[in-house]
C-alpha cells in the first residue's frame, strides 16, 4: 500500500516526512527511556510507520494525562479531549480504508463512513462538554437525510454497472484460480508419469547395457539376453513418453485441429460415434482448441464408461463467436456432475474461457452434454 505512495511523493513531502519521523522517533526514544522500553526501528520511516509511532506516542501521552487526572482528584474528565483527538484520526483512516475496499457502491460507502464518523464525533463532544440538551440530534438527522437521498439516487444510475463489474471480477478470480489449479495438477501428473515411467525404464535400460558390457566376453548368451531386455526397456520407455505426450497435447490435435482430433476419438471409440462437423477451415486459437478437445474427449469417455449406450453422436459447430460441442448418447442417463464422473472437470476446463456446460440426463436416458465456448477469432471475417 505504501510503495506506490512513496514512489509518487515529491522531494518536499519526503523532507517533511523525514523530519516528522525523526522528531517522533526522538520523542518516543525519550519516553521509552523514561518508561524503560527500548526504541524501535530507525529514525526514518514510511507514512504508515509515522502514523503508527504518532499513535503510540498519543496513547502514552493520553495515559499520562489520565494518570495525572486521577491523581489530582478525578473531577471533570478533561483528558477525554486528548483521547478524543487520538481516536478521531484513527477512526477516520480505518473507516475510509474499509469503505474504499468495498466493491459495490463505493461512493455510498465512503459517504456513510464520513457521516458515521462525524455523528460519533458530535456525540463524543456532547458527552465531554455538557450532558444537558442533546443538540447533536439535529446535525445527525441532517446527515442521515442526505445519506438516505444519496442511497436512493445513486444506485439506479451506477449500481448495475458496478455490480456487473464486481460479479465479473468474482468470476475471473474464481476461474483463474481454477485454471491455475488445473495447470499445477497437470504438471504434477506429467512429472510423476515421467518419473515413474520413462525415467525408470531408461535407468533399467542403462543397467542392462552396463551388465551386458561386463558379460560380453565371459558369457555372450547372458549378454545377448540383457541386450534384448534393454531393447524392450527402450520400447517401453518410448511407449510411456507417447502416453505422456498424448496427455499434454495429442499430436493429432496439433496436426489436424479440433475436427480431425475429434474424428480420431470417434474412430477409436468402442461405442459407434456419428460425427457432424460444421467448423470453419480456419483453426481456433490453440488454448480454446485444446480445452475444447479435452472437454469432448472427457464427454466421450463418460459415454464409453458409464452410459452403456449403443450409439453416440458428436456435433461440432461454430457461429461467429461461439463454439458449440454437443455430445449425446442413447444410454441409461442419470449422469450427475456431483458423482465425480468427470463432468466437473469439463466445467473447470471450459470456465477459464467463459465456457458453459449443460447436462440433460434424465434417468433412463438419453444423455446430452452441451458445451459452449466463446471464441472471438483473431481475424474476423469481412
Amino acid at each position: 500500500m505504501n510503495e506506490p505512495t512513496d514512489r509518487r511523493e515529491t522531494a518536499s513531502s519526503r523532507r517533511v516526512r523525514d523530519r516528522i519521523g525523526r522528531w517522533t522517533s526522538l520523542v518516543l526514544r525519550f519516553i521509552g527511556g523514561v518508561l524503560g522500553s527500548k526504541p524501535k526501528g530507525p529514525p526514518r520511516g514510511t507514512w504508515s510507520e509515522i502514523a503508527r509511532r504518532s499513535t503510540s506516542f498519543g496513547v502514552v501521552v493520553a495515559l499520562l494525562l489520565t494518570v495525572i487526572w486521577a491523581m489530582t482528584g478525578a473531577g471533570y474528565f478533561w483528558p477525554g479531549w486528548m483521547w478524543f483527538a487520538l481516536v478521531l484520526p484513527v477512526a477516520v483512516s480505518w473507516g475510509l480504508r474499509t469503505a474504499l475496499h468495498t466493491k459495490v457502491r463505493r461512493s455510498l460507502a465512503v459517504h456513510a463512513v464520513i457521516s458515521l464518523v462525524i455523528s460519533s464525533a458530535l456525540i463524543a463532544i456532547w458527552l465531554l462538554s455538557s450532558h444537558r440538551h442533546f443538540w447533536p440530534i439535529w446535525p445527525i438527522l441532517g446527515l442521515a437525510v442526505i445519506l438516505a437521498v444519496h442511497g436512493l439516487l445513486v444506485p439506479s444510475v451506477s449500481r448495475s454497472r458496478e455490480q456487473v463489474l464486481a460479479e465479473r471480477i468474482d468470476v475471473l478470480t474464481r476461474t483463474r484460480e481454477g485454471a491455475l489449479d488445473v495447470q499445477v495438477a497437470e504438471m504434477r501428473r506429467v512429472e510423476r508419469d515421467l518419473h515413474d515411467g520413462a525415467q525408470a525404464r531408461l535407468v533399467s535400460l542403462g543397467m542392462s547395457l552396463g551388465m551386458a558390457d561386463e558379460l560380453l566376453d565371459s558369457d555372450p548368451d547372458a549378454a545377448r539376453r540383457l541386450l534384448a531386455e534393454a531393447r524392450t526397456a527402450a520400447g517401453d520407455a518410448l511407449g510411456d513418453l507417447r502416453a505422456v505426450v498424448r496427455g499434454i497435447l495429442p499430436p493429432v490435435l496439433a496436426d489436424r485441429g479440433l475436427a480431425g482430433a475429434v474424428q480420431a476419438l470417434a474412430l477409436a471409440s468402442p461405442v459407434p460415434v456419428e460425427m457432424t462437423v460444421e467448423l470453419p477451415a480456419e483453426r481456433l486459437p490453440a488454448p480454446v482448441e485444446s480445452a475444447a478437445y479435452f472437454a469432448v474427449a472427457e464427454a466421450i469417455t463418460n459415454v464409453i464408461k458409464h452410459s452403456q449406450a449403443r450409439a453416440a453422436w458428436v456435433r461440432l459447430g461454430q457461429t461467429d463467436d461461439l463454439l458449440s460441442m454437443v455430445v449425446g448418447d442413447d444410454g441409461q442417463g442419470g449422469a450427475d456432475p456431483d458423482k465425480g464422473s468427470g463432468l466437473r472437470g469439463i466445467e473447470h476446463r471450459l470456465e477459464a474461457f467463459d465456457g458453459t456446460v449443460e447436462i440433460s440426463s434424465p434417468s433412463g436416458g438419453p444423455t446430452v452434454v452441451t458445451m459452449e465456448v466463446p471464441c472471438a477469432r483473431s481475424s474476423p471475417k469481412t
Binding site: 489436424r256 474412430l267 477409436a268
Partner: protein, 214 residues
Amino acid sequence: MRAVIAEDLALLRDGLIRLLKAHDIEVVAAVGDGPSVLPALLEHRPDVAVLDVRLPPTFTNEGLLAAIAAREQLPDLPILVLSQYVEPLYARELLADQRGGVGYLLKDRVMDVGQFVDAVRRVANGGTVMDPEVVSQLLAKRVRDVPLGRLTRREREVLALMAEGRSNAAVGAGLVVSEKAVSKHIGNIFMKLDLPPSDDDNRRVLAVLTYLNS
C-alpha cells in the same frame, strides 16, 4: 533395392541409412523436409520410400500428406510411413486408395532391425504393413456392428495379423494353426466382408480397410 528416405533429424536419418545399407538396401536420396519429398521421388523413382510423418516446415503431418500426394502421381510407389505415434485415422487415409504397397509403423520398430527390414521389403513388394499398435487400438473396440460382427473370433484374429502385413505362413505360425487352415479362414473373411473376387493382394488390403473403417 533402392530407397528414398525423408527424416529431418540427422541422428535418425544417418541411422536409417546405415541400417538399410547393412541390409543391401541402397539409399539413393535422403531429404529433410516435406517440400523436397515429391521431387526426390519423381527424380529417383525408388523401389520404396520411407517417410517420417513429422517434417519441416510445419512439423505436423507433412510426411503423411507428402505420401498421399506422391501416391496420386506415382500410384505404384510403395511407401512406408514412420511416426513417433500411430493414429488409426492416418492409417485409414494411407489405405484409402485401396492399393497395396503401404506401411505405417511406429519408429520404435526400427529397434528390431530384422523385423523392420522385413517390413520395408514387404511394402516394397506390394504388401500392406500396419503397426501392431494400430491394430490393437482397433481391437480394443468392441465389435458389434456389421460387417465385422459377422466374423468369428478366430477370423478376427487372422484379420488382425493380416493387417500387420503377415503372410499366410506367418499368420499360421502366430496362431499355431496350419497354413491351409489360415487360407480357409481368409476365404471366409473375404466372403463375409462381401469382397469381390480379384487378386488376393488387393482383397487383403480391402479387408484391412474394412477393419480400419469399422
